[in-house]
């Protein structure tokens, strides 16, 4: 018998946290027997800004409090770390992202980006671990129990390096990251868990910093991703920047000072742009002024603005068109006709923009689902998966989760009237996700041989047998890369595996078996062995931009 009122959770069962670690905001939740419970911040907020501040007064501040330092100490406030995590700092897009932030980013060991605040040098996983630790502490305070296990979501198009770095961030925060799941898949899980239906859905995830779109087939408890495409550097931040540039030009025209070299001023304008963008999602025009723009030699410190929704839409049309192109592409890849998609889930704050929904409706000839909360649905899915992995799901979780998904309690999503015993064990959802990129190795002549295709189900292993190209070759280097180009150099290199001390034989006589295995987290493991001597090499590929090998566990 359950003793009511004693405590909310059966502490024999472990509680596992589901975390949506976003570019701009993060949300955490746990699965309970009656639904999904959100982890609240110090002021009761569900959404925690992914911002870490190192104020002059000392210490580390995370979340909503950290955001307040953006104006006074813009150089000490680290935001958008997700844009850098696990990336090679020399990548052109990363170089561009660096122009969009006010804190210092330098090249560290293994070409990874390093944040420099005063005399502290921190890796991106360290920065993100502060956000995760903050969520962990909030959760422990709220639930009154220590928390160790977590499921963290990542954009579907995150690379191997970005995934490894995200896991590393979890480890640094003292969390055991049981699984990384893709954000669109998490959203689909939150929507579909417990519905037990057959349908094809599209998840359109347009967040602060990334854009992903996935097509899934829901078949009872099986969630199969058919195809996933994305654009890693496209998000709400870009829309803010586009509008911010217009404001900066206005500032230059009216106040006769170019604000662009002034970090704090630009930050202020970007924040203004963000507020205007949000206002325009609800209203047809935004009018007002941005004050507190104190600049040497300026004619006044207030910038009046007047922007209609139409003007804003013209400004962002290019970005929105791009998302629609990607959506059409993913439908093609999945081999699904737009009309057979029965539900379009909008995830991420940028999907609140009317133009985005309107264009999406044009693509599918159907209105997107507006009942889910685009900011919270991903963390709900993560919480359900976390609960499932620790064996802590009941049928009630699904019903409750769906109520939480719908803004109105007894909406069409609730199904109504179904009485489910709260402690009944639910069928565990089975996620069949896909790997986001084609993985290949270099063969002589500089060409590639594909081992794993994009959109293959994961976890997956594929093995192929290769041979040597020269007589008496005793050493083989296996260069692994990511990308679809036929030429090796046109793809993104992932790392090299070396097989040494092979027996000298005529070319073509050695049989070298190369296995690519992508685990359920989307992380690649490569193994190569010589079938005659049994010489084996296994590698966790050391990806440029990721934390170096000695930082990694195992």
């Amino acid at each position: 018998m359950q003793i009511l009122g004693a405590c909310r959770y059966n502490f024999q069962m472990s509680v596992a946290l589901g975390i949506d670690l976003g570019t701009t905001n993060s949300v955490a939740a746990i699965a309970t027997p009656t639904g999904v419970e959100f982890i609240l911040g110090p002021r009761g907020e569900r959404v925690h800004p992914s911002v870490v501040a190192f104020p002059s007064s000392g210490g580390v501040v995370v979340g909503a409090d950290a955001k307040r330092y953006r104006l006074t100490e813009p150089h000490h406030v680290i935001h958008s770390a997700k844009r850098f995590i696990g990336q090679n700092i020399r990548a052109p897009l990363v170089q561009l992202a660096m122009t969009g932030v006010r804190y210092r980013v330098e090249e560290g060991p293994n070409q990874q980006p390093i944040v420099v605040v005063r005399d502290r040098r921190m890796t991106m996983p360290e920065i993100s671990s502060n956000v995760l630790l903050h969520l962990k502490r909030c959760a422990e305070r709220q639930l009154g129990t220590p928390i160790k296990d977590a499921v963290v979501t990542v954009p579907a198009n995150f690379t191997d390096g970005q995934r490894q770095a995200t896991k590393e961030a979890g480890r640094l925060a003292g969390l055991d990251v049981m699984r990384l799941i893709n954000e669109p898949t998490a959203a689909a899980l939150a929507y579909g868990f417990g519905r037990d239906r057959q349908q094809v859905i599209c998840v359109f995830d347009f967040g602060g910093g990334t854009f992903d779109v996935s097509i899934l087939r829901l078949n009872g408890e099986v969630f199969e991703v058919l195809a996933s495409e994305g654009d890693f550097f496209l998000g709400g931040d870009d829309l803010d920047r586009a509008l911010g540039e217009v404001l900066a030009a206005e500032c230059n025209r009216i106040l006769r000072v170019d604000p662009r070299p002034h970090a704090a001023l630009m930050m202020k304008l970007m924040m203004g742009a963000e507020a205007i963008k949000m206002h325009l999602s609800e209203n047809d025009a935004a009018e007002g002024e941005i004050d507190g723009l104190d600049m040497p030699g300026a004619q006044g410190s207030r910038l009046p603005f007047q922007i209609t929704r139409k003007q804003f839409e013209d400004l962002i049309a290019g970005y929105v068109n791009r998302t629609c192109e990607v959506t059409k592409q993913v439908l093609l890849t999945a081999g699904i006709d737009a009309r057979s998609v029965s539900e379009i889930l909008c995830v991420g704050g940028s999907t609140r923009i009317p133009l985005v929904r309107q264009r999406l409706a044009e693509v599918f000839r159907k209105e997107p689902n507006t009942k889910i909360n685009p900011d919270e649905v991903v963390s709900q899915g993560a919480a359900i998966q976390a609960g499932s992995l620790v064996g802590n799901l009941s049928a009630g979780t699904g019903m409750g989760a769906r109520d939480a998904v719908a803004t109105t309690a007894h909406s069409m999503l609730g199904g109504g009237g179904n009485v489910v015993l709260p402690q009944q064990q639910a069928k565990r959802p089975i996620l069949m996700d896909v790997n986001p990129a084609t993985l290949a190795i270099q063969t002589a002549g500089g060409f590639t041989e594909r081992l794993l295709d994009k959109n293959s189900p994961i976890p997956i292993e594929r093995t192929r047998v290769f041979t040597t190209s020269r007589d008496n070759q005793t050493r083989v280097e296996i260069d692994c890369c990511r990308g679809e180009a036929r030429r090796y150099t046109e793809n993104e290199p992932l790392g090299t595996l070396v097989l040494d001390d092979l027996p000298p034989k005529p070319r073509g006589d050695l049989k070298i078996e190369v296995s690519f295995r992508v685990d359920a987290d989307g992380i690649l493991h490569v193994r190569a062995s010589d079938q005659t001597t049994g010489i084996r090499q296994e590698a966790h590929l050391q990806v440029l931009g990721a934390p170096s090998a000695e930082d990694m566990p195992g």
């Binding site: 290769f466 679809e484 070298i512």
Partner: protein
């Protein structure tokens, strides 16, 4: 726990089938359709997906179930791509060349293969198709540059249509740039040729 022994027996069976054709791993007939393969894969996932057995198995047992499942997933992907290849149209007339084998799929080879370049000697960035004078790319605004770079990537993939879209986006970001416009014209010409 029959569920436990069932999945372990299944894993043993799968792992014993090294170098077996895809349909055997999926327990299908050789002439099965894609739909049948999908059903078979879903059925296997429902009973044998490692996530369902996380708590019931020892770490070693879970590892072997995961490996078996991963191999079946590989077989499913093989099966799918074999079937698709026969039905899909080629996107471009000039099909990519078959790889010159060096470290090569194991089949007899006569082509003298050049020594592989040492790792690390890989050029940092190869010149993109419409050769960009550094200054032209450098003087673009950041939005245009993002899309220009994406256009480059699309070109490298051989995705002309994608490159065209990206280039148009770049032009939207920097309408004054004659460099971008001429690059777009080049791509459009290529696209027309390929049609």
């Amino acid at each position: 726990m029959s569920q436990r022994t069932d999945v372990l027996l299944w894993a043993q069976r799968v792992l014993a089938l090294t170098n077996a054709p895809a349909h055997q791993l999926l327990e299908l007939k050789i002439d099965a359709t894609i739909e049948q393969a999908q059903d078979a894969f879903h059925k296997i996932a429902r009973t044998s997906h490692p996530d369902i057995h996380r708590s019931g198995l020892t770490p070693e047992e879970l590892e072997s179930v995961t490996l078996a499942y991963s191999r079946v997933a590989g077989a499913y992907q093989d099966f799918r791509s074999q079937r698709m290849q026969t039905s899909r149209m080629r996107p471009f007339k000039d099909a990519p060349p078959t790889p010159i084998p060096g470290l090569t799929p194991a089949r007899p080879t006569t082509a003298p293969a050049p020594a592989k370049p040492a790792s690390g000697a890989t050029p940092a960035a190869s010149t993109p198709a419409p050769a960009a004078p550094g200054s032209a790319a450098g003087s673009m605004n950041s939005k245009a540059l993002i899309y220009y770079r994406k256009a480059e990537l699309a070109l490298r993939r051989g995705d002309l249509k994608g490159a065209m879209l990206q280039m148009k986006m770049a032009i939207a970001g920097d309408p004054q740039s004659t460099f971008l416009r001429s690059a777009l014209v080049e791509i459009e010409a290529e696209l027309a040729k390929s049609k």
